[in-house]
Amino acid sequence: MALLETGDLFASYGTGHVLNGISMTVEQGELVGIVGPNGHGKTTLLRAISGLMPSCTGAVRLGGKDVLGTAPQRIAQMGLVHVPQGDLVYKDMTILENLLVGGYANRSAQRSEAQLEKVFTLFPKLKERAGQTASSLSGGERRMLGIGRGLMMADCRLLMLDEPSLGLAPVVIDQIYDSIDGLREAGMTIVIVEENIARVAEHADRLHLMDGGHFVWSGLPGEMEENKQIIDTYLGA
């Protein structure tokens, strides 16, 4: 049984569908990359899976359980972590408080502490500045904090990252992808939305290319070369 399955998923923000019947499966332990031009539904797909899209039809199953229509916080408690795009940290709270919020579903303070150690190892900068408010961080540092907050959940079964490399220095992107590899080796299932197809192809088991709310190509990273034409058509690579 696939850990995540969507069937004929449609979603809209009111005018026209942004998702036009997405069917995908993500197996336990797999890393799936979703690429495609901006404005064609990648972020909306993650939002629909997390329960953040109010008008949504089709099916979303997490661990075999139908979760479409379930409140987002309930879905999160089932072990789905969604690290969104952008600047969504609590600016008036300290860095440490922001991180602890990410561990709200953890069963004990010890588990949160263990996760906190892992996050601080990945982003030493957050440890140095743990007591400062998030508003003192630069744009890129806030992205680190957002990713770190996502990694605070101890019982994460599915990690969804929306453009983890956006706004980060190249050396930090390397570190993030190294830690993604580490999480995978430990058995984590991961979905990544990424603009940089070459980067995600180095790590993903399978790729989906999205355009106009459809998957226009799906395949293995090794099959990219023979499908170069279709990929270049959509990405201008």
Binding site: S138, A169, P170, V171, E195
Partner: protein, 269 residues
């Protein structure tokens, strides 16, 4: 009278937040017509530097000279009216206004002080808005509400808002982050036109190294608010400190690739 070679010069510029110096005694110059790239680790002070140059935040000490004027301590509108404008990392447009109205507003208020704004935009503002929409390929979006724009068009609108007042110097803060290669090329084409046909001087912060090395004439790397490296774009990967704190292994590889692409003329150069 000949114009000075340097359009911008910065001397001992410092911004302190308590004991932390976000920008620390920084000296650098920007020549007329050049493209200067600025890189550095997250939190190095890059955006703070733009805030100081554009008057969004006052400097703690030091001096900024722009086009012969000492602009240290001037307000953001005063600096904008002298011909220095900027973009922001995150969305900074008027979401509920159309693309054209955003640009007319920037053109009208960006060029001179309006003590008694008129009830309608003047002909010059309308003409500038139409001209810059063409340059940035936004003409077909003229009547779209800014808040409803796709990511690429939103980025182009932010760039258009900054250049519609015909600045001498434009500061671009991560203009191509989050865009795919085809979209980056669309933006790069706009920047090349600005540089080549409008003579605009450009300072750009960016983490996308393939873009940076292909487009910038010179690159300055900041670390802890100070200069870690300064030199031609292809010199980055040769400096081990830059590789260690900023580029990493794949960034160094990408910076070499970007240079090659630039040499072949199919990159962003």
């Amino acid at each position: 009278m000949t114009e000075a070679l340097n359009l911008l010069s910065v001397e001992k510029l410092t911004k302190a937040y308590g004991a932390m110096k976000a920008v620390n005694e920084l000296d650098f110059t920007v020549r007329r017509g050049e493209v200067l790239g600025i890189g550095g680790p997250n939190g190095a002070g890059k955006t703070t530097l733009f805030d100081l140059l554009s008057g969004v935040t006052p400097a703690t000490s030091g001096r900024i000279t722009f086009d012969g004027h000492d602009i240290t301590g001037l307000t953001a509108p005063q600096i904008c009216h002298l011909g220095l404008s900027r973009t922001f990392q995150l969305n900074a447009v008027f979401n509920s206004m159309t693309v054209r109205d955003n640009l007319r507003t920037s053109a009208y208020f960006g060029r001179e002080n309006r003590m008694l704004p008129g009830l309608r935009f003047d002909a010059a503002a309308n003409a500038s808005a139409d001209e810059v929409m063409e340059l940035t390929q936004l003409t077909s979006y003229a009547h779209a509400t800014a808040g409803s724009l796709p990511v690429l068009q939103l980025k182009l609108l932010m760039i258009a808002s900054a250049i519609v007042s015909h600045p001498k110097l434009v500061l671009l803060d991560e203009p191509v982050g989050g865009l795919n290669p085809g979209e980056i090329e669309t933006c790069a084409a706009v920047f090349r036109q600005l540089r080549d046909f409008h003579g605009t001087t450009i300072v750009v912060i960016e983490h996308v190294m393939s873009f940076m090395t292909a487009f910038a004439d010179r690159v300055m790397i900041l670390h802890h608010g100070a200069k870690l490296h300064e030199g031609p774009a292809d010199s980055l990967a040769e400096n081990q400190d830059v590789v260690d704190v900023f580029l990493g292994v794949s960034g160094a590889a990408e910076s070499r690739k970007g240079k090659m692409a630039g040499g072949q003329g199919d990159g962003a150069s």
